[in-house]
Symmetry: C2
Subunit: 336 residues, 2 copies
DNA sequence: TGTAGATGGCAACGATGAAGGACATTTCAA
DNA sequence: TTGAAATGTCCTTCATCGTTGCCATCTACA
C-alpha cells in the first residue's frame, strides 16, 4: 500500500502539504493540490485509518454489545445503529455475549484496547455491570434496559405503557381473568411490564391472581415451561395470557398447542415487542410495537452527540412510546 | 490512559522491557517482571491496540459484509462468525448493505482504510463485485453465494441437493404437479436450487410446467406477489409449491391464506433454509436446514487460516450438506 | 521592516524489535 | 594460575510504523 510519503515524493511536495490536501486543513495552491491529487489517484492511495487514529485519538468506531443476536428483537436495532453509523462514516464492532454474562468484561477490555470512540449497550440491567462500564471511562449510551436509578444517557421505551396497551386490548376484547407471563425481575423492562400489567388490571377493577403471574426469561423455552407449570398447578385456566415479550408468547402458544388448547379460541395470547415475523406466527400475534429499529437509530445519534461534546452535557433519556398491533391471537379483529 | 512510557518510568525499566513483559517476547528477570506487572496493575494500564496495529500491521479485526441482517438467515451466521472470532481475540466489524448494492464499495474502502486483517462476504454473486474485492488485495472468504467460475476460498452448501431433498419429500408425500418459486437468477444459490428442482423432477419422471416456475427475490414480498401472479395466470393450481427459501415460503403462505387457500390442505408448501422461527410459523414449515451458524463458524475459521499463512495456500471450498426438516406445511407427518 | 501567504521540517501519537552495551561467566593458551 | 578472549545473559537505546499539526521558513509585496 502506498503511503503519504510515496505521495509526497511523487508529487514532489512535503508531507504536510499532502496532509493538508487530504484533510483540507490548510490552504494549498491549485497547482500543488493538483499534483497531490494526481499522485493519489495514480498510486491508488488510501489513508491509513490506524495511523490517523493513533495521532488523532479517535477511531470513528463504536462497539455494540448485545445479549443475543438470535433474539429477533436485536437485528432491527443493530440495523438502525449501523445505518446511522454508516451515514457518519463510523464503523460498528459487534459484540454478541450469547447470554454469557462474563463475556461482557472481556468485550469491555477489548473495546478499551481498540480505542473505540463509544459504546452502545443493550443488555445492562444491574449496577454491577454499570460499574464496569463506568470504569472504562468510555462514552456510552444504554439501550432498552437499564440498572436501577440510572439517569444517564439512555434510549428505551415506556414499558409500563406497553403493558397497559396490552391489558386494555385484552379487556376490550372481553377477557377478565388474565395471566401474566413475565421475565427476569432483575431486568427493569420485565419489572416495569409486570407492574404496568398489575396496576392496569387494578384500574380496570380486575383481580390479579398471584398464581397466574409467572416469572421467567425472555425466551421461548421460558414461555413453554411456564405453560406446563400453569397447566399442572392451576385448576381454572385464565381466559387470556399477557406476555412480557413475543418470544415468550411464541413459547406459550407452542405449549398451549401441544396441550391441545387452541389460541385464540380457548385462550387469548398477547405478545409484547412486535418482533419480525410475529405477523406470520402460528397464530398471527397481537403485540405491542417497540420499533427496535428506531431505538437503534436514536441511540446511535445520541452517542454521536455525546462523543462530539468535549464537556459532558446534560444526560438525555429518550423514552419511545409503544403502539398496539392487533392481529389474531386475542380474537379475530381484521381492522388493523 | 496510562501508556507504556508511564509503566517504564514507574517500574524504572526501559520501554522494551515493558514490551517484553507484556508480549512475553523475551526473557526478563523475575525481579523486573514483577516491577513491571505491579506497575501495570497500579496504573491500570491497557495496551493501545491502535498503536500496536500500526507497528505490527495487523489489527485482529475482520469485516463482515452482509446484505440484510433482517433476513433471519444471517443472524445465526453472524453469531457463528462472532463466536469463533471471540475465541481468537478478533473483533468483527459489521457491514450491513441493506440490499443497497452500492454500499459494498463504500464498505470495502472503509475496511481497507481501517486495515482489517480479512473480509467475510455473504452477498457476492457477480464477477463485478468479486473484482472490486480482489482489487483491495485483502484476504477474504466468500460465504453462501459466489460468482460464476469462482474457485477460491468459499463456504457454502450444496444447493442442488437442498432442492432434491425438498422435491423428494414432496414426491414422497404424493404430490406430482409441483411449482417452483425461485429467486434472482443472478445469484448462484437461486440458479442451483432451481436447476436442482428441475432435474430432480425429471428424475422422478414428473413434468415441470414452465408456467409454474417463477423467478423472484429472497424476500417475503416476492413470494407473496408471485402467488398473486400465479392465481391470476394459471388455470389449474399446483398441488405443491417448492420455494427457494423460507422467507419466500412465508410470503407464499400469506398469499395463499389471503386468497382463502389452505396450507397444507389445499396446497403444500416447502421452504428452504430452515430459518429461525420457521417452526413457529403460521403453518409449521417443512424446510431444508442449512445451518447458517455452522457456515459462519467454518468461514471464520477458514479466514483465520488464510490470514495466518504468509504464502497463499491452496484455496478451499467447503460445501455443507443440507438436511430435510419435516414439519406440517406439506401434510402432517409428526415423525421427525 | 513588517506582514500576509504558501510551503516545508519535524516532533509527536504508543507501541515493537533489531542492534548493541554492560556485565558475568566460561574457555583456553601460556 | 592467570589474564585475555569468547560466549552468554539481561537490559537499553533507538529507529520505525503512517499520520497530524505546530512552528519555522521563505517569498512577495507594501
Amino acid at each position: 500500500m502506498a503511503t503519504m510519503k510515496d505521495i509526497s515524493k511523487k508529487a514532489n511536495v512535503s508531507l504536510s502539504t499532502v496532509s493538508a490536501v487530504i484533510n483540507q486543513s490548510a490552504y494549498v495552491s491549485p497547482e500543488l493540490t493538483k499534483r497531490v491529487t494526481d499522485a493519489i489517484k495514480e498510486l491508488n492511495y488510501r489513508p491509513n485509518a490506524v495511523a490517523r487514529s493513533l495521532k488523532k485519538k479517535s477511531t470513528e468506531t463504536i462497539g455494540v454489545i448485545v445479549t443475543d443476536i438470535l433474539n429477533p428483537f436485536y437485528p432491527p436495532m443493530i440495523k438502525g445503529i449501523e445505518d446511522v453509523a454508516f451515514d457518519h462514516n463510523f464503523n460498528v464492532i459487534l459484540c454478541n455475549t450469547s447470554n454469557e454474562h462474563n463475556r461482557i468484561s472481556t468485550y469491555l477490555e477489548l473495546m478499551l484496547e481498540k480505542q473505540v470512540d463509544g459504546l452502545l449497550l443493550a443488555n445492562i440491567a444491574t449496577s454491577a455491570d454499570l460499574n464496569e462500564i463506568e470504569k472504562t471511562g468510555l462514552k456510552y449510551v444504554l439501550i432498552n434496559r437499564k440498572p436501577p436509578f440510572y439517569d444517564k444517557n439512555f434510549v428505551g421505551i415506556n414499558n409500563t405503557l406497553s403493558s397497559e396497551l396490552a391489558v386494555n386490548h385484552l379487556v376490550r376484547q372481553g377477557y377478565k381473568r388474565i395471566a401474566f407471563f413475565g421475565g427476569d425481575l432483575k431486568i427493569n423492562t420485565a419489572r416495569e411490564r409486570r407492574s404496568g400489567f398489575i396496576s392496569c388490571m387494578m384500574e380496570h377493577g380486575l383481580d390479579v391472581d398471584p398464581k397466574l403471574v409467572f416469572e421467567g426469561e425472555y425466551s421461548l423455552d421460558s414461555g413453554y415451561n411456564n405453560v406446563k407449570k400453569m397447566l399442572m398447578e392451576v385448576e381454572q385456566l385464565p381466559e387470556a395470557i399477557c406476555t412480557v415479550s413475543d418470544v415468550v408468547a411464541f413459547g406459550v402458544i407452542k405449549g398451549l398447542r401441544d396441550a391441545g388448547i387452541r389460541v385464540p379460541d380457548d385462550i387469548a395470547v398477547m405478545g409484547n415487542d412486535n418482533s419480525a415475523f410475529s405477523e406470520h406466527f402460528l397464530v398471527p400475534l397481537s403485540s405491542v410495537d417497540h420499533s427496535s429499529y428506531e431505538m437503534g437509530k436514536l441511540s446511535m445519534e445520541l452517542l454521536l452527540q455525546v462523543i462530539k461534546e468535549k464537556e459532558a452535557m446534560a444526560d438525555r433519556q429518550i423514552i419511545l412510546t409503544p403502539s398496539l398491533v392487533v392481529r389474531e391471537s386475542c380474537g379475530v379483529n381484521r381492522n388493523t
